[in-house]
């Protein structure tokens, strides 16, 4: 037994104390619930919810269940997290390059960006984008536009999209299967042609179902736009704010990785006669990735958690819709909070598993 007899005694006391605390809370919860007349159980999930949600990625109607609400809220959280991670990483990469530039002025501009955005609370940035910037946009009739394809106004961002009609399921299947195959090939073979499946498979499915695929472009009808995809102001503000904030942290992580590659490695590559591009691709990027991947993966979990601040600007995510509206309507606090928080824990765990899988790949 480690720690000897005293150690054992301490552990027993701690265990007893923890058990007492849990038992006390359990007792209080059950008496309080009985007093308030609340019955526990997850049956409420199959009851119809009957309230509106502004953004639903899967079909939703008045008689959809509370479980459907949970799935929709979860998808909304995932959507904004993935968008912000992708955009934040792209922007962060550019800023990291700027900060490590030999050009003093460009480096200073990169520093200015990082120091500005990471030292202002995210919530203030989100409120600014939503209540100040979005509200200052023009009405639909006088939208900002790019050609006659993309429109930006105070109702949101309107972008063209492919509509698959009844070919939706096979197309979605082809895209997912293509992506999965590409990732698998990239992991196994590490050749450029690994990206072919994720292009060819959807293309083949598209050709096969061509009669059904329509290019849908937003068009002004009456007071608003129809067709295409509408990015609501809430999603737009949250994505812009969260990406720009995250980019300032991601830039520092990437810059740290680039700096960690020693000059000796680069000089050695030069003396072997490698070109600049070859040096970057074969020496600098693989070595930098080893340093970048672990903290970057950890930061992606932070982005996921930070997306919950969208609650403040009415973005219908897990916290606002499920832990907020559903909890108030059903009066099932224990079940709703447990589901919400376990979901965040599970997502964070899944992210860290993915990070260590990528890390293993990078270290090979």
């Amino acid at each position: 037994m480690r720690g000897g007899r005293t150690g054992l005694a301490i552990q027993l006391v701690v265990l007893f104390g923890a058990a007492l605390l849990v038992a006390g809370i359990a007792h209080n919860v059950s008496t309080n619930l009985a007093r308030l007349g609340i019955k526990t159980g997850f049956w409420f999930l199959s009851r119809p919810a009957g309230f509106d949600i502004s953004q639903t990625l899967i079909p939703y109607s008045d008689d959809s269940t509370y479980f459907a609400v949970f799935v929709i809220a979860l998808l909304n959280t995932l959507l904004v997290s993935f968008l912000s991670i992708a955009l934040g990483t792209a922007l962060g990469f550019v800023i990291a390059l700027a900060r490590s530039s030999a050009n003093g002025l460009v480096a200073a501009a990169g520093t200015l960006y990082v120091e500005t955005f990471r030292n202002i609370p995210l919530l203030i940035q989100l409120l600014f984008w939503y209540f100040a910037a979005m509200q200052a946009l023009p009405a639909p009739r006088t939208s900002f536009h790019l050609g006659s394809l993309i429109f930006l106004n105070d109702r949101g961002l309107f972008i063209p999209t492919l509509q698959f009609g009844h070919a939706f399921e096979p197309m979605a299947g082809a895209i997912v299967a293509g992506l999965a195959l590409s990732v698998l090939l990239a992991a196994k073979a590490r050749r450029w042609w690994a990206i072919l499946p994720c292009i060819l498979l959807p293309l083949a499915a598209g050709v096969y179902y061509r009669a059904d695929i329509v290019w849908s472009v937003p068009q002004l009808q009456g007071f608003n736009f129809h067709g295409g995809v509408t990015v609501l102001p809430e999603l737009l503000a949250l994505t812009v704010g969260l990406s720009m904030y995250s980019a300032s942290f991601i830039a520092e992580i990437i810059r740290g990785g680039i700096q960690a590659v020693s000059h000796g490695q680069i000089d050695a590559a030069k003396s072997l006669g490698l070109t600049r591009w070859q040096t970057s691709r074969l020496i600098v990027i693989p070595l930098a990735l080893r340093v970048i991947v672990p903290p970057l993966g950890a930061y992606y979990v932070v982005v996921l958690k930070n997306s919950s601040l969208g609650t403040a600007i009415a973005y219908p995510d897990l916290i606002l819709v499920f832990a907020g509206t559903v909890l108030n309507q059903t009066a099932q606090p224990i079940e709703v909070m447990t589901m919400t928080l376990l979901t965040y824990l599970a997502l964070g765990y899944a992210f860290s598993l993915a990070t260590s899988a990528v890390n293993r790949q990078v270290r090979q």
Binding site: L105, A132, P295, L341
Partner: protein, 372 residues
């Protein structure tokens, strides 16, 4: 002496020249420089006009701001009392000033005395100061009328939340870190589970949890007010974050330090208190500062719970029908909020960086990835 001055000038000249040369070293760099300069020339005049030249500096109502494409600074003057004190009764606001003085005096006295009187007396001093501040702010004793925490707001509330968290979370975090690194499997497992669970949750979720569930967790009559519950969530959440920083520092302490303590015949708890903890604290200062920056930024989240912190008061002011008419009011409010928080966070981050650079033994993970 006479040689020093020209040398300085030369060094500066060389720096400036190096900088300018780096801006045009290659055609591509020259192009980038041109782009940055163009961007600055496009953005800066507009910014200066909006913030200063075209801004509204005098007047009393929103009418003075309508039609101006510039900051509406008079909005802030109109809400100054709320922004600083929240809804704290006007006649009692001197108590907050007194509390601030007591707070600063306590910090100064504690900071000056650590070396001489030891950690316990310093702790006692901090505790006495905190109690005095609590009495001044809450009242209900010594002839001071009681002021409910629901009336607290503005910068006052922001400072209360930040100060409370920065005082309460680190000691709890240190205990958790020691427990997690302990050789006793049960203690270590409980501490580990607690830390990982709390760090895996978004703070907003934890705040919702505490607000909704705390009344269910305690016997009837022990439901505290909303602010106390929020403070509890802040303490627990950041204690877990601090615990991770301290763990990094604990792992950086060389085994020989501890064995040296044992070989002197010191018992385990004295080795921990006299050898381990002081080193952990000094090594982890940069990480601790990083978390403190995160705490200052996080205080704004209480807005979501309907508490009127600094940003909450601004948000309420924007929604005030008297000030709705002007678009520039909203932008002014958020720009002002950013101008208040930015210098605090920036200064703290520079201090942290300076300490980190001075330290010979940095554990690498100073908590950069912990900070959101």
């Amino acid at each position: 002496m006479s040689a020093a001055r020209p040398q300085m000038t030369q060094r500066w000249q060389r720096r400036v020249l190096d900088f300018l040369r780096s801006c045009v070293s290659t055609p591509f760099n020259a192009l980038l420089t041109a782009a940055v300069v163009a961007l600055a020339f496009w953005a800066l005049p507009g910014l200066i006009h909006w913030l200063l030249l075209d801004a509204v500096w005098s007047g009393t109502s929103v009418k003075d701001c309508v039609g101006h494409d510039g900051a509406c600074w008079i909005f802030l003057r109109a809400h100054a009392g709320q922004l600083i004190y929240g809804s704290y009764p006007e006649g009692q606001r001197w108590r907050l000033v007194a509390a601030a003085v007591v707070g600063l005096a306590t910090i100064a006295a504690a900071g000056a005395s650590t070396r001489r009187v030891g950690i316990l007396s310093t702790g006692a001093m901090l505790l006495a100061g905190s109690i005095a501040i609590g009495i001044l702010m809450v009242g209900g004793v010594a002839g001071l009328p009681y002021v409910a925490t629901s009336l607290w707001g503005g910068i006052l509330l922001t400072i209360v939340i930040a100060a409370w968290t920065i005082v309460t979370a680190p000691p709890l975090g240190l205990l958790l870190a020691l427990a997690r690194q302990s050789e006793l499997p049960i203690v270590s497992a409980i501490a580990g589970a607690f830390i990982d669970t709390l760090r895996g949750l978004p703070l907003v979720g934890l705040l919702f949890l505490v607000i909704v569930m705390f009344p269910l967790f305690v016997p009837r009559g022990f439901e505290t007010d909303k602010l106390m519950r929020a403070l509890l969530a802040f303490t627990l959440f950041n204690a877990a974050n601090f615990a991770e920083v301290f763990r990094g520092a604990l792992q950086a302490i060389h085994r020989s330090q501890i064995e040296g303590g044992y070989s002197l015949g010191l018992p385990r708890w004295r080795v921990t208190a006299l050898i381990v903890v002081p080193q952990v604290i000094s090594v982890s200062i940069p990480g601790v500062i990083n978390i403190c920056i995160a705490i200052v930024k996080e205080t704004t989240i209480v807005l979501i719970l309907g508490l009127f912190d600094f940003v909450g008061v601004l948000q309420a002011g924007i929604a005030d029908p008297d000030w709705l008419a002007s678009q520039s009011v909203r932008t002014t409010a958020y720009v002002f909020a950013a101008l208040v928080f930015w210098p605090i966070c920036f200064t703290l981050s520079r201090i942290g960086l300076a300490i980190e650079r001075r330290q010979p033994m940095t554990s690498g993970s100073s908590g950069a990835s912990l900070v959101n």
